[in-house]
């Protein structure tokens, strides 16, 4: 008998009202000051789109949230857990924060299904049958259930990225991070990935998305954050952000990408 899963799963609820809180955070790569005094508070269920020119530190910032990058000063609190050198807490945060990468980072030696069930089985200690059922459910959700027994290398870029989203969802994350999820895709595959993300947003998932897909930002974001030179320059609701950008730098950036 298959474990039953409700048709439209709600995201796992957060313990606190604030999903992510970043206070006075700085980061250096050697001498290079990549992130300067980042302050950002994201409430549960909020969708944030982060944009900015390349090298502005937007990827580095969201990678700090699940500690793929270490920050050197300031505080990052993820659903009530502060990220410090405590490995236990880092693992705890990573379990509850899903991430989707620009280059998918699927495990090429495992099938699509195994990619999805690996973490539930080994990290959540879920029985294999249950993990399989959940994986099948999410693969259906991202519209590729028929590819479950293939290897990632046999899929198109758009399909791989949807598998990566399913893989993250299988851990029932409270927060999802997207690091330029459509930048490495052919134009005709961008839409299928964005549609999946819109679906997630509609379910109320807390999302941080680094992206230049301004259409997506308009459609789902509660706030758009603009970064440049390691700083947050401007953050506003999408309507305001696109129609009345305040900062000169923001205006210039928007004029370049919205043509």
């Amino acid at each position: 008998m298959e474990p039953t899963i409700s048709a439209a799963p709600k995201p796992t609820p957060l313990n606190t009202a604030i999903a992510v809180e970043i206070v006075g955070m700085h980061k250096w790569y050697g001498d290079f000051h990549v992130l300067r005094d980042i302050n950002l508070r994201i409430k549960g269920g909020e969708r944030i789109v982060i944009c900015g020119p390349s090298g502005s530190g937007k990827s580095t910032m969201i990678r700090c949230i699940n500690r793929l990058e270490e920050h050197q000063r300031g505080r990052i609190i993820v659903d009530g857990v502060e990220l410090a050198n405590d490995l236990k807490k880092i693992d705890e945060v990573r379990r509850d924060v899903g991430m989707v990468f620009q280059h998918f980072n699927l495990f090429p030696h495992l099938t699509v299904l195994e990619n999805c069930t690996l973490a539930p089985i080994w990290v959540r200690k879920m029985p294999k049958k249950e993990a399989d059922a959940i994986a099948q459910h999410y693969l259906k959700r991202v519209k590729i259930p028929e590819q479950a027994s293939k290897y990632p290398g046999q899929l198109s870029g758009g399909q791989q990225q949807r598998v990566a989203i399913a893989r993250a969802l299988c851990m029932s994350p409270k927060i999802m991070l997207f690091d330029e999820p459509t930048s490495a895709l052919d134009p005709e595959m961008v839409k299928e990935v964005l549609d999946t993300m819109v679906g997630l947003a509609e379910d109320g998932m807390t999302m941080l998305v680094v992206s230049h897909e301004m259409g997506f930002a308009r459609q789902v974001a509660n706030r758009v954050v603009f970064m440049d030179e390691g700083q947050i320059i401007e953050a506003n609701a999408p309507d305001e952000f696109f129609s009345h950008p305040q900062h000169e730098r923001t205006k210039l950036f928007l004029s370049q990408i919205l043509r």
């Binding site: 699940n66 793929l68 693992d91 990573r94 379990r95 924060v97 899903g98 991430m99 990468f101 280059h103 998918f104 980072n105 699927l106 495990f107 090429p108 030696h109 495992l110 690996l118 973490a119 080994w122 990290v123 290897y151 990632p152 290398g153 046999q154 893989r167 993250a168 851990m171």
Partner: protein, 388 residues
Amino acid sequence: MTMLDGNQAVGEISFVRRTPIAPLPPPLAMAGALGWVRANLLSSPSNIALTVVTALFLLWMIPEAVNFLFIDAVWSGSDRLACLPSAQQPEIGACWPFVWERLPYFIYGSYPIPQRWRVDAFFVLLAIGVGWMLWLNAPRRDLGVVYFFVVMPIASVILLTGLAAIGLPPVDTTLWGGVLVTITVASVGIVVSLPLGVLLALGRRSRMPTVKTLSVIFIEFVRGVPLITVLFMASVMLPLFVPDEWSPDKLLRALVGIALFASAYMAEVVRAGLQAIPKGQYEGAMSVGLGYWQMMRLIVLPQALKVTIPNIVNTYIGLFKDTTLVFIVGIFDLLKAIEVSRIDPKWAAPVTSTTGYAVAAIFYFVFCYAMSRYARSTEARLAQSEKR
């Protein structure tokens, strides 16, 4: 503007295909045996030259070998006289009665004759273990691992060295020899070097300075010394530092020496594989919450070991043949057993040495080639995920 039909040439004007083209079979020259020969053996002048040279070499080698090993070979006799050239048979090939008579010595060395069943039992235990590990569809491979790494080694030690309590008289390792020693040394080296090499490789890439430094020192020190030196250290130097009653058995010391030596080489082979794994794999594994050891075991090592299989097997094959060096510290492996036998006056004949060496060559070739073939099949199986 005129539209052209699909069957007409594409001009400068617009083109719309009206009839789709169905797939056709490939031209005859690409298929069949003739196609294969043309494509692979006779594709270019240099290829033709290589084909001819290879064919001539094989034509020269194969009849020689067949003549020596079979056609001119002596098949029966009781001493050297059978293998001497005579008027009836001026050309003498391999002297098989010599091998036949000395075969027990080649296999068991000086292991006491009434106890030799214990060596046979050890070979059977080992064969079961190896078969269980290498046969992928074998039942209960989890038990197989326990058997191979725990049950079999303990049983083998008790069986071979003896345990008076259960009625197995002790046999000193100085009496061991031949294939028994070669197989023991090689399997200990092969079984120990991979896990230890993996740990050393991970240590060398560790962020913890102590772990890293210790691994680097061990690897570089051991790699910087010839195997013979390690064996001399183990058999000659160690007893100088350690009191007699503490000093372990001579064979054991050589075993430890070879296992550590092979581990250092294996560590570098594995490290090369680890370096081939993109950073994104680590990040993907960390982002789903895997811990360090889970990430290594489930994501990184399977991929790293896969790309290094040819190198790992290369190291294994090298190790298997390097076991012959133990004769330098007075341990009788197969090659040494053959060495001793070939100068036996009872069998003194011009072909005795050649026959003995031919036996050694066949033995080493069979084992090394088997390892190579198994590795190829593993590579093919693991390449599945790259198939489109």
